[in-house]
């Protein structure tokens, strides 16, 4: 088994993330097993490849490696402030994060975005 790290999702629960795994994928698995039971909405999951911006989150603590992400969704300044697309980070230690979905500018407003603000 590869090394396992904990992802503490603020206000929601905890996911187990294996070395080399995308944080979002670990969170999807945790939600399907009922481990993010305090998350009041379905985990925002989109392209899982850094392009669509739906899985935006803020890393509060911990170390991670990251892939390229669309700068339409995470600018350099935001990246330095710990904002990430959770599909494109790979934890290197236990981490804590807060889900911060983008504001969707249309009628396709999701439960997620309305819960957030």
């Amino acid at each position: 088994m590869p090394a396992a790290f904990k992802i503490a999702v603020e206000g929601a629960g905890e996911a187990t993330c294996y070395e080399g795994e995308r944080a979002l994928v670990a969170m999807e698995r945790a939600q399907s097993f009922g481990r993010l039971k305090n998350l009041p909405y379905k985990l925002p999951v989109g392209c899982r490849r850094g392009g669509c911006g739906i899985c935006r989150a803020r890393v509060l603590s911990g170390a991670y490696r990251k892939d390229l992400m669309s700068q339409a969704h995470i600018s350099e300044e935001e990246s330095e402030a710990g904002l990430v697309l959770s599909c494109s980070i790979y934890p290197l230690s236990d981490i804590e994060l807060r889900i911060e979905p983008p504001q969707v500018a249309s009628k396709t407003k999701t439960a997620t975005t309305s819960e957030e603000k």
Binding site: C47, R48, G51, I54, M69, Q71, V104, S106, T108, T110
Partner: protein, 306 residues
């Protein structure tokens, strides 16, 4: 049926975050062939069952999405006539010289009300691999990956799709094969310039210039299953399918490229004749229109785009 004016979707130019990952995805997994690389870094790809020089252009950028949807027209005279009609509609027309994309003749380009750039051109060189023409085998180079046969269409998201419908019908002579009307107004339009169920589609969205997906055609429903096996085997991000659309009736599977652009591979839409009536959908059956078996769309299908 005599075909003049706009013949078919010719190419899509899309943005990718990492060129090498994108190339591996589109050549080894989707099954396209690399034709050539341009001096500016753009890479030109084609499917083996297409004659024209290329049908997908990849441009490395800091964000995903679509730059241009290009359409091939029947002749240089048609290109000139269409330019006049586009200008008369009120869209400024830009001229792109021959060779700006290797293998293509001169193009005209303009931005439609949804924020998307559309280009038209009359000439494309041939390039390899292309379908054999004399005593033709079904293929020359053995199909690989998902075995896509050709680029099929793009679905774009943006505002003012009523006006986009008007433009494509009145100026480019497309026909509306299907439309979705909800209490919010016109929500989606499917447009054909030939005999396919769609050559381009628009869905209403608050932000301009967004890409929903780039689609490639497969030979059979069995090939959709093969594509699904490839998606899992190579850990490609999966969206929905194998399934079927009510709209167009196509069998389909959706997934994402390594930059998050949505791809579709599909087969088996109906044949459209220009005297066919428009098929219509309302809000009560929209789930079935989107996905005929699930009868609803996952949230990600409606709110995820590049």
């Amino acid at each position: 049926m005599a075909m003049t004016g706009v013949l078919r979707p010719g190419f899509a130019q899309i943005r990718v975050l990492d060129m090498e990952k994108a190339l591996e995805h589109y050549t080894k997994r989707v099954g396209l062939h690399e034709v050539t690389r341009g001096g500016d870094g753009r890479v030109y790809l084609k499917a083996a069952d297409e004659f024209d020089h290329h049908s997908l252009v990849l441009r490395e950028a800091d964000r995903a999405g679509i730059d241009v949807a290009g359409f091939k027209v029947a002749s240089e005279a048609d290109l000139d006539a269409l330019e006049k009609r586009v200008s008369a509609f009120g869209y400024p027309v830009e001229h792109v010289p021959a060779g700006e994309q290797p293998g293509l003749g001169r193009r005209i380009g303009f931005t439609v009300c949804t924020g998307h750039r559309i280009e038209l051109y009359a000439h494309a060189d041939l390039s390899d691999p292309k379908p054999p023409t004399h005593n033709p085998d079904v293929w020359d180079v053995e199909p690989h990956g998902m075995r896509v046969r050709r680029f099929d269409h793009v679905l774009l998201l943006g505002p003012d799709i009523d006006k986009a419908l008007d433009f494509f019908e009145k100026v480019l002579d497309f026909r509306c094969t299907e439309r979705v009307d909800t209490p919010d107004g016109l929500t989606a339009v499917f447009l054909s310039c030939g005999m396919k169920a769609h050559d381009i589609a628009f869905v209403k969205f608050g932000e301009p210039a967004k890409l929903h997906h780039v689609s490639f055609e497969l030979e059979s429903w069995a090939d959709i299953g093969h594509a699904a096996d490839i998606i899992t085997r190579y850990d490609i991000s999966h969206d929905i399918g194998p399934t079927r659309h009510g709209l167009t009736q196509g069998r389909t599977i959706y997934f994402f490229d390594p930059s998050g652009n949505r791809n579709e591979v599909f087969t088996g839409d109906y044949t459209y004749y220009p005297d066919n009536p428009t098929r219509t959908w309302d809000e009560t059956q929209i789930g079935k229109g989107l996905f005929y078996y699930e009868r609803q769309a996952p949230e990600s299908f409606l709110n995820v785009m590049t």
